[in-house]
Symmetry: C2
Subunit: 215 residues, 2 copies
């Protein structure tokens, strides 16, 4: 798989954009990138098409493609949608999660806890993501799972910032336990509510402010 150079370039560019290597509105020069990757313009152009289709960049005909970093409003919107998606996954998982899935959740939670006691942020992020991914999987809806994974990936860089707050990791763990309890009790509404709040955190109020401001 992936003998195509264009795919590798697309992946690399995507990571670079997510890593904030390019500013919002910055033009992605085909010839420069071609030189940089030691290929012709053709595979570069195909890679750019992928970025455009993914909403990472915008194409203006006869002008070029420009990276599109989400502003604060769009970011809040994305977080809010993430919260809703997770709530949906949780609701469905409540009645569909297998015994095995619940066990995986417990294990992931244990590893989260361990990361906290060792104060290993990077490890916590990784295990926290896995915890949520298990819930996506638990929805037994492959399409929903895929969309949730996509958005989780898009928000990764920003989620890290948000979790730097003191004590957030500890509170997050407590919420994880609540989530697992609700899943074990198969209480769909509670799972959804707790998960939504867990992900949204301060997003809701911020967004309402924005919405009122715009309308």
């Amino acid at each position: 798989m992936e003998i195509r150079r264009a795919d590798k370039i697309a992946e690399t560019l995507e990571q670079l954009v997510f890593a904030g290597k390019y500013r919002d509105g910055e033009r992605l020069d085909e010839v420069k990138l071609a030189e940089q990757f030691c290929v012709s313009r053709t595979p570069v152009r195909e890679a750019l098409q992928v970025l455009v289709a993914a909403g990472i960049a915008e194409q203006i005909p006869r002008r070029g493609v420009f990276v599109r970093q989400p502003g604060p409003v769009e970011l809040m919107e994305m977080f809010e949608m993430m919260a809703e998606l997770e709530a949906s996954c949780g609701r469905l998982a409540a009645s569909r999660m297998t015994e095995q899935g619940l066990q995986q959740l417990a294990e992931a939670n244990a590893r989260c806890q361990e990361a906290i006691t060792q104060n290993d942020h990077a490890q916590y992020y990784a295990e926290n993501e896995k915890f949520h991914q298990i819930i996506y999987r638990g929805s037994a809806n492959g399409y929903l799972e895929k969309q949730a994974l996509r958005l989780q990936n898009k928000l990764r860089a920003y989620r890290k910032m948000q979790l730097r707050f003191r004590g957030r990791m500890g509170q997050s763990m407590a919420e994880h336990r609540q989530i697992v309890e609700a899943l074990e009790a198969e209480d769909a509404e509670k799972v959804a509510t707790v998960l939504r709040n867990h992900v949204a955190v301060q997003g809701e109020k911020f967004h309402q402010l924005m919405a009122n401001f715009n309308s």
Copy 2:
């Protein structure tokens, strides 16, 4: 906008695939399409990239791109996600919908009713879609709105089948009124629940069957 021939080709191909012009797994021949569209392979290839990125087709390196029509399982999954997205939109709209939005809903509903009395299916479909789109908009979350519109578009062809059942239009209208009432009462949970059931219809039970079957 859209001076690029590749974009026009992508749009056309997308419509053709949605219209069921291509079977699942069918290969999209670059040279044939190039002839068909009277262009070289280059714009055709760019168009195919777009389809692949949109999940409409799949690319196997050095083999070609093949259309990927959703099977019954994936379709149910998509319908389920649509129901969840609509529920999310409705929940958020409950507290954010403007007076103007509510009025637009009433108008759309009136046009739906008129289409029913005239037994104009096509018109009903169109107005029904608008009704839901107003709710997406009402979520005051542009990102969520966009995703909802995307999925609505993807499911259009299949939704039409589903609504052919006798009496479905009438029941659908009754549910619409329930939704508007709940929105006016700003009862977020009720809006979400009614909308979810409105969209899901028979999907839930079918899917649980599948989920149990697979695990």
